[in-house]
Symmetry: C2
Subunit: 481 residues, 2 copies
């Protein structure tokens, strides 16, 4: 299909779809969730085949996908997400009367979404980016990830079935296949109003640069991953040595390490490093290498490891074993904090089950680390209550470096809820003021518009005096229904 | 002062200031408003001298400035702006328990603000950008506008007096003077986390490109103006010919046309064009040329006019008179819609009291115009009730092209309130999802962070179970206090 025609159709669909009541948009999303559930037995085997991920995981991921579709369906059916804000007229104000001003969020227009290789369902065709854009009121031009074309086509079919069932314009969703140049052409098209992407730093930055060089620059919401450091404090670590080693290894090796929240960096006090290392090594023994998403990812993983193996600052606790190239074999290296601090290459994400254990000698060193740390999706702090109270300044610094700060458990397993923040300071994302997971993800695809002295009968329902939607609104600065 | 030292001091001030309670931040802003009021008799003459704007206007602008300082003071004292969102733990959830996740907005860090020439007070040293950044919790490195250095220094003194009085770190605000290269150096500094700018398209885009090419790209909130079209419909125009001509000319010539919401484009139906033109011409007769902000702006105005005078598509209703170069003399040209549509140069802003009257023949032509129109801060529609009902599709298109849509009055006079949206699609701004005027302006300088399983005693007050601030929060998806 011709690209201009494709975008023009999307723009036409937009001008219709954006004005549909939230209830109808929500009903469409619910229909889509039902359709995906109904096709589970067709979707799951395709995704398993194309991703090398186990059936249990893919089944879970489909549940996560429909779960987040229903979250957004509920969000737009309820309707308060539009931040309706009303400053009614004050005709008698002196020295000047106040006009009637009403503001809410309006969708941006057609949005380009790129699928992710590591979540063939939850971050792909009907994944979080697509769904939050559709929920906001934006048609989606979806660039399928070449690693799972059949899965993508099948899910795209489900989206079109739901569109048809709800009597909506089919250009609400367009499935595009191709490589890098096809993706670039989508981002460059003048009708595109935003881009969402989950993937590598290189890929994300290429799209970011391209979008900023357009005649009309557009926002790129690129989630480019991070190394998700864990900071271990002595008392906590001493008390829970085995449990924390177990939790760490489970998180590190989950999904063969192919998660954006995979913990690739762990800071350990020197006096406990040996014991913790042993506990980790014991856990690692039982972890078998497993197939990665595709050969390209496995190749990149082993290339990165090979580069690190050439660095003499690292001591290898477990070396990777690239015997069967598609299989990701866990690797762990140790480094002194003083060495780690010297080279920012040691902060680079290695996508897969690799972690660097950084051994620190003092709390001063921890502060240096916090200052030098790049932006992260998550940072985890393992400390007991007293240790936390002694580290308020460090915590203050760590807040500056992440989008989510954890005090228990592990960073993998991103909850889909209202309060989730999945996005952090650069280079973890290009848009730290946004999230790609959770209810707030919808806000990426909308912008504010204010109507001044608009007649009641023309106002969107969200802004009418009688509040027919019954949503939360800010009127004269106070929240009210 | 060395730039590194300056930014390091700002970063240190940030790590302290960001954690102050909203009440203390608000008290500081109130103190600043009081200080500015107390120094009114010193500030106003300086600003009058340096801007060529009349004393009445500058007095009013100081009131606007302190008014918006108090708006932000109230906003942060009240505290709900941080979007506190709480998903409490569900330890018994199956198949997996839910962690406790709490999200709110945290300030970005040190922010670079550029002063605007056309508002020596309200958009300059202690103007909307500076104040919304300080309210959010961000120190400001302020680049003074070279057109009003003495005013800027005087206001900066007031800010430092308020800082001193409240016992805050002096690096909360840094006043920097210089030219383009000094401004660029500020934007490039690695500690800078965002940029706010009001000014020309060229200037805004230069900063935007610079900020995106940094090792860590940062957001640029550049408000670059627009031509703020007015769409006139026949019934309304016929009924109110003189009144609308009067309102238009008053808005066009207010402040010698030096407003970002100045109406530089007006669409008029052919059959009424003559009558409306006469009414406008009658109004224009009484408007004397008046000094513009500085000679450079006057020069740029007449250069633009001269270029347009070379275009044969334009018929001049009133020619500019560059006799006294500093004086801005109103100019008005007429053009057929069919010609206007042919060249996007006719959409370029001419900063000053110039407008283009575009004569349209049909409603189809209006739709073409709406499709071709660039992004605007505002669009105004003058139509009676029946005409509006007949133009729903056009209105739907116009919404896509602006940040504020008016149905009465004129675009100049931007209300500072909760619902105001001052910012629109590119090229009127580089960040259409934000506003530079009104309460929501504070959100530009904050980003979300989520705390997972953070102990109660460490949580920020905004997120503690007992809600000690008494703010509005979203708990489990519902608003509550």
């Amino acid at each position: 299909m011709n690209l201009d025609n494709l975008f023009r159709a999307a723009q036409e669909a937009f001008l219709f779809y954006k004005n549909l009541p939230g209830k109808e948009k929500g009903a469409f999303l619910d229909t889509l969730a039902d359709t995906l559930e109904a096709k589970r037995s067709e979707i799951v085997p395709l995704a398993v085949k194309e991703s090398n991920l186990p059936e249990g995981r893919i089944n879970g991921e489909l549940g996560r996908t429909t779960g987040q579709i229903r979250l957004f369906a509920n969000l737009v059916k309820e309707g308060s997400w539009v931040e309706a804000t009303i400053d009614p007229a004050m005709p008698d104000r002196t020295p000047l009367p106040r006009a009637d001003i009403r503001r809410f969020l309006t969708p941006l227009g057609p949005v380009v979404v790129f699928g992710a290789s590591n979540f063939p369902l939850a971050f792909s065709t009907a994944g979080g980016d697509t769904i939050s854009a559709l929920a906001a009121g934006c048609p989606v031009i979806y660039k399928a990830h070449p690693a799972h074309p059949e899965t993508s086509r099948k899910v795209a079919d489900c989206i079109h079935q739901a569109i048809l069932k709800c009597g909506l314009p089919s250009a609400l969703f367009t499935h595009v296949e191709g490589g890098i140049s096809e993706g670039q052409a989508l981002v460059k098209h003048p009708i595109a109003k935003a881009v969402a992407f989950t993937g590598s730093h290189l890929g994300g930055m290429a799209l970011f640069d391209l979008a900023n060089q357009r005649e009309e620059p557009i926002p790129v919401f690129a989630e480019m991953g991070s190394v998700n450091p864990i900071f271990c404090f002595p008392r906590k670590l001493e008390k829970e040595n085995e449990d924390l080693a177990k939790a760490f290894v489970a998180s590190l090796t989950l999904g063969v390490g192919q998660f954006c929240t995979n913990p690739g960096l762990i800071f350990v006090p020197e006096k406990l490093a040996k014991a913790f290392e042993s506990a980790i090594a014991a856990e690692l023994k039982d972890i078998a290498a497993a197939p990665m998403l595709h050969p390209g990812i496995a190749q990149a993983y082993y290339d990165s490891i090979q580069f690190l193996e050439s660095r003499e600052e690292l001591r290898w606790v477990k070396v990777a074993d690239p015997k069967h190239l598609i299989n990701g074999s866990t690797a762990l290296a140790e480094i002194k904090a003083v060495d780690w601090l010297k080279d920012k290459l040691f902060q680079k994400e290695v996508f897969g089950a690799f972690a660097m254990m950084v051994v620190y000698q003092s709390e001063d060193e921890l502060l240096e680390i916090a200052k030098h740390l790049h932006g992260q999706l998550t940072i985890t702090v393992w400390a007991d209550a007293e240790e936390l109270q002694n580290q308020l300044f460090l915590l203050n610094l760590l807040e500056e470096k992440c989008g989510r700060l954890l005090f228990k458990g592990v960073p993998t397993g991103v909850e889909v809820g209202y309060a989730m923040q999945h996005g952090g300071p650069f280079p973890s994302t290009t848009a730290p003021n946004s999230t790609s997971v959770g209810a707030y993800a919808i806000k990426r695809f909308a912008r504010p518009i204010a109507f001044q002295d608009m007649p009641q009968e023309l106002l969107p329902d969200a802004l009418r005096d009688d509040n027919p939607l019954g949503i939360w609104r800010m009127v004269n600065g106070s929240y009210t229904k």
